[in-house]
């Protein structure tokens, strides 16, 4: 919302400075977007009289002038060809800054003639590109006065942003009212005297769509002469970026900004029939004032005459019945529209207009009669003519509402102690009318223009909570909301900076843990994976559907109805998918070796899972001491193991099976389970087809750990440590087993051979090849026997070893290697 300072002052009687006004606007919630003050840079320049301009004695192209600045006559050397005796010009005194050249003037001497100032061109003042000569002012320009003031350039343009609740502030008058209430002057009265009716209106209103248009007033003014608006009106509109069109149209635009009261004018001569009807659209197409064609839908409210649709009500008028220079009879439309209808129509047709902007926020329902009179007056003033009676359809809707404020609530809710009289005074200046006052509270009537205060809009209550609780809460809302509205008004006018800050009261001397165990688990997982050498990423939750399909199901339920781009349309089935794309992008940039992880959601039709996912692409770094090694599935498993260990999952109880999701290499991937059902993790090399589809050179390995599946660690005291006094005995075994036998089976069998004695089993070699024959492999394990009562005898060790061999053979068919 833009307006000039002088426009504001037509409604606000104030001597506050521009700075005070703009600071106050921001403080009271009408945030300043900017101030354009063209006059400030020109403040030093004066209108001057060139008493004499003669040829410079020593320079062909210069003229020596005597200039009356209104403050004495000075000598000025001027290079402009149009400098002539007797002209009025703009004078810049020594010491002034010339915006167009960036120079600060000094008194000088040019080829022997003193020059104590400068006569300016438009370009030198930064007012355009005209540099053919100095500015040639009209003969009646008063010598010695400020040039920007004389030229009307000293009127700063103020631009504010108005929040959606404040339709009333989309009016210069509304802004003036707020400023007056904040203590910056007084609001000038507005009470247009009615224009008497000279004849019955030949045009009438009808409304068949009351829900969209409850009330409309109209009036015919005949015998008008339409043409260009007077300069003051053109200047006013131009100052805020509106193009003057003709007087009748300019008048409607003026009231839109001045009172926040959009009007429309029909050329009565172009209207067919005698009735203009507000009715639902019926698929008709009409051409609007912006030159574009629109087709009215049944949910759009249109204004139609006998020939058809002439206007989208509250949004934009039609070209066919618009006013132009030939208009001699005009019909004024001053209507009230339902904000939601206007918003939906404007949104659907993608029309942004000053009228829509105001109607969809809601305008003052009591202002219509005064607005018609004010518009009639201005039309008569600028275009002449005589006015008909005022015709109407519908009726003024009920708008009177009351609200009460307990003064203590200013302190107990708003945090600021405001004396009762001061609070009431603020409300009254804002237009609230005091209807009842006690020492502890006040009841006011809400002004017609404040549809945001005590608006009893419907609740949308939760449907899962007990009805009795909801009823009580709804009652509470009815009691509290209007009061909160008033608290806001009283605080707003004082500025929220006036409210003293109070630190939060402590709920305990030492606060309880901030994170739940589940949240703490995520934090620990993040640190663990980063400590494993993986760099944390945050990737988008949505991705290209075709990419997502490589990594799992892509149900329609998880495809956006309105994606912002075709490659961001599907909720990802796993963060591995977006990490793979990230690795590919890094490789494209010349960084093929990356280890990445993300802790984030994987989406399923029935909800989202929190997944710690990682991806390692390429190889370990090259180094003289250790060769670069391509990442393999076991690197991903090592990450999973490190994470599960950190999260307190006992690794002994896990099983790993080769049934991993399809985006992994089927022979080099696994699923990790705790118990028969709970899947904790998957890991493996990525499938070559996935790599090819993503244009990722590979090798690449990945893992997922399902953090939600991990049980909360039990908070119990640790048992006493197992610290036997006897040395352990270590024995190595080499088993030959079928290639298909999982190592895990051998390790588990060995571990279980003598539970009380065997405390550790580790695999230290795996061999497949000629020495064991086809279809077989050798697994070498070390078993740790831990005696507790006495040092083991050779016989006891022999017996234990035999149990290991027997247990492994029984479980897996493996035999001791000969």
């Amino acid at each position: 919302m833009k307006f000039s300072l002088s426009w504001l002052k037509t409604h606000l009687d104030t001597d506050a400075s521009l700075q005070t006004i703009t600071d106050t606007l921001t403080t009271i919630g009408l945030e300043l977007e900017g101030v354009e003050d063209r006059g400030a840079a020109l403040a030093a320049f004066r209108v001057a009289h060139v008493v004499e301009a003669v040829q410079h004695p020593n320079a062909d192209r210069l003229r020596a002038c005597k200039v009356d600045t209104g403050n004495g006559i000075v000598s000025v050397v001027c290079g402009a060809p149009n400098a002539r005796t007797g002209m009025k010009a703009v004078f810049a005194p020594p010491g002034s800054f010339i915006p167009g050249t960036g120079i600060t003037l000094k008194v000088g001497e040019i080829r022997g003639v003193q020059s104590a100032g400068m006569l300016l061109s438009a370009r030198e003042m930064g007012l355009g590109n005209d540099h053919d000569g100095i500015v040639d002012l009209p003969a009646d320009a008063p010598v010695g006065v400020s040039y920007p003031a004389w030229a009307g350039l000293d009127d700063p343009i103020i631009d504010i942003s108005v929040t959606p609740n404040r339709g009333d502030a989309l009016a210069v008058r509304g802004v003036a009212r707020d400023l007056a209430a904040a203590g910056l002057g007084t609001l000038k009265p507005f009470a247009p005297t009615p224009v008497p009716a000279a004849f019955p209106s030949p045009l009438q209103w009808a409304i068949t769509m009351r829900e969209a248009c409850p009330w409309v007033l109209g009036r015919t003014v005949r015998g008008v002469r339409n043409g260009a608006s007077p300069q003051w009106l053109q200047d006013r509109l131009l100052s805020i970026g509106l193009r003057p069109i003709n007087a009748l149209v300019d008048i409607t635009n003026f009231f839109t900004i001045d009172l926040g009261r959009p009007l429309h004018v029909f050329d009565a001569g172009k209207v067919t029939g005698s009735t203009l009807t507000f009715r639902p659209g019926a698929g008709e197409t009409f051409r609007a004032l912006n030159g574009k064609d629109y087709t009215a839908r049944p949910q759009d409210c249109v204004i139609a005459d006998a020939a058809g649709v002439q206007s989208l009500a509250g949004v934009i008028g039609g070209e066919a019945t618009g006013c132009d220079e030939a208009t001699t009879s005009v019909f004024i439309e001053c209507a009230l529209f339902d904000p939601v209808h206007v918003a939906l129509t404007g949104r659907h047709h993608q029309i942004i207009s000053d009228a829509r902007q105001r109607f969809e926020r809601g305008i003052d329902p009591a202002l219509l009669p005064d607005a018609v009179e004010a518009a009639t007056r201005l039309i008569q003033e600028l275009c002449g003519g005589e006015a008909s009676e005022v015709v109407s359809a519908g009726a003024q809707p009920a708008w009177r509402r009351r609200a009460s404020l307990r003064f203590a609530r200013l302190r107990d809710f708003g945090g600021l102690d405001v004396p009762a009289d001061a609070a009431v005074g603020t409300l009254e200046r804002l237009g609230f009318r005091c209807v009842e006052r006690s020492p502890v509270s006040v009841t006011v009537e809400v002004p017609s223009w404040r549809n945001d205060v005590a608006a009893a809009s419907p609740l949308e209550p939760a449907d899962t909570l007990p009805p009795e609780r909801m009823r009580k809460a709804a009652e509470g809302r009815n009691a509290i909301e209007p009061e909160a509205d008033l608290v806001e008004e009283v605080l707003r006018m004082r500025g929220l900076d006036a409210v003293p800050p109070v630190s939060m009261p402590a709920i305990a001397p030492v606060p309880p843990p901030t994170l739940t165990p589940r949240q703490a688990r995520s934090a620990l997982a993040r640190r663990t994976l980063a400590a494993q050498g993986l760099a944390e990423c945050v990737t988008f939750s949505f991705m290209a559907g075709s990419d997502a399909a490589l990594f799992g199901d892509t149900p329609d339920a998880l495809r956006l109805s309105n994606p912002i781009a075709a490659d961001l349309d599907q909720m990802r089935p796993t963060p591995v998918a977006t990490l793979a794309r990230a690795a590919q992008r890094n490789a494209t940039r010349g960084w093929p070796d990356v280890s990445l992880f993300e802790i984030g959601p994987a989406y399923r039709p029935d909800g989202q899972l929190l997944v710690a996912a990682g991806l390692r692409a390429g190889s370990t770094p090259r180094n003289w001491a250790v060769a670069a090694v391509d990442f393999g599935a076991m690197d991903a498993k090592a990450d999973v193991w490190a994470l599960l260990t950190a999260l307190g999952v006992p690794l002994d109880a896990l099983t790993t099976t080769p049934d991993a999701p399809g985006f992994y290499h089927p022979g080099r991937s696994g699923t990790v389970r705790q118990g028969p059902k709970t899947v904790l993790a998957t890991f493996g090399a990525l499938h070559p087809r996935v790599l090819a589809a993503l244009d990722l050179a590979g090798p690449a390995v990945a893992f997922e750990v399902y953090l939600d599946a991990i049980q909360d660690p039990k908070r119990r005291r640790k048992s006493a440590p197992d610290l036997p006094a006897f040395q352990p005995v270590r024995r190595d075994f080499a088993f030959v087993a079928a290639s298909s036998v999982p190592a895990e089976a051998v390790l588990k069998a060995a571990r279980g051979a003598e539970r009380s004695l065997i405390t550790g089993v580790s695999l230290f070699d795996v061999y497949e090849g000629n020495k064991v024959g086809p279809g077989l492999k050798s697994l070498a394990i070390e078993v740790v026997f831990q005696p507790r009562e006495h040092t083991l005898t050779d016989a006891e060790i022999e017996a234990a070893c035999a149990k290991v061999v027997a247990a492994v053979a029984k479980a897996t068919g493996a035999t001791l290697r000969g």
Binding site: L496, Q532, E536, A557
Partner: protein, 356 residues
Amino acid sequence: MNDDLLALKADTDAALAAAEDLRAWDAVRVGVLGKNGTLTQQLKELGKVSPEQRRERGAALNRLKDELASAIDARRAALEAAALDAQLAAERMDVTLPPRPVVPGLVHPISRTIEEMAAIFGAMGFGIAEGPDVEDDWRNFGALNIPAHHSAREDMDTFYLPGTDAQGRRRVLRTHTSPVQVRTMTSQEPPLRVIVPGRTYRADHDATHSPMFHQVEGLAIDRNLTLGHLKGCLIDFLRAFFGISNLPVRFRSSYFPFTEPSMEVDIGWNRKTGELGGGGDWLEILGSGMVHAKVLANCGIDPREWQGFAFGMGIERVTMLKHGIPDLRPFYESDIRWLRHYGFNPLAPAMLHEGL
């Protein structure tokens, strides 16, 4: 000492000096002190000497034996030391060689900021609440006093998923973390203090907007929390988060559907240098307000009994400001060079007692 003993000593000393390694040294030792060594022979022959001479000769031999033994030991130590020196010299390595590479892992700046927020608000008694990214339009809009026709619900702002949920509500990607306010209020009894960091989505993509970004929501409900507490809480947070104890903080009246009174919060900075604190300019940083009576009532909380405040701020935005990160888009690019530049050491997490 007799000449023969002197000669023996001289010979042995010479032989030891000539012994260049432990094997030669051992030959000398055996030759002198061994079972058939020269000195051992002399000692064996002592019995043949007359008793008168035996005492004197015995004493001389024993003296000589001690002398030779210590000379032999000394030579051994010298040889061993020389051998060790030679070995060490041979084992010399190029200490300028690069060690085995360790690829450091990193924590993303967004996670770091969330950690810091948890630490600071945690100290003020806030817990962390969470909710799903796919929300229903009641929790995302309706319950928060954003009615059906509100422009925020337009396709151009909100991502929709097809179909409806079990209650017949439209499914949206949450446009803010505020639906978790609704989840919290409908599932827990006040008093409440939670912050809600999380992913949020809006259909906007340019240099300063990302279709996915992060917000942190705050909600505090109690019997007598006022707008003064809201101001105090936010000032305390902002000064701790940015590490500027006198950071200027300004509050301006504004409007949000879910709070009343509403206010926007600015911090002081220098527009030219981007430095926070002084400079005389103001930078809008978050929105806040007292929870709207309608929002409380929609969630079954009686506004006559309970009141409180809510706020929301962009996590990327405060992260960019705190660390001087100029551009939003790289946050989601996973460019390893950017991650290494702006990432954080996982072993130095945000802890108030160690400093943020």
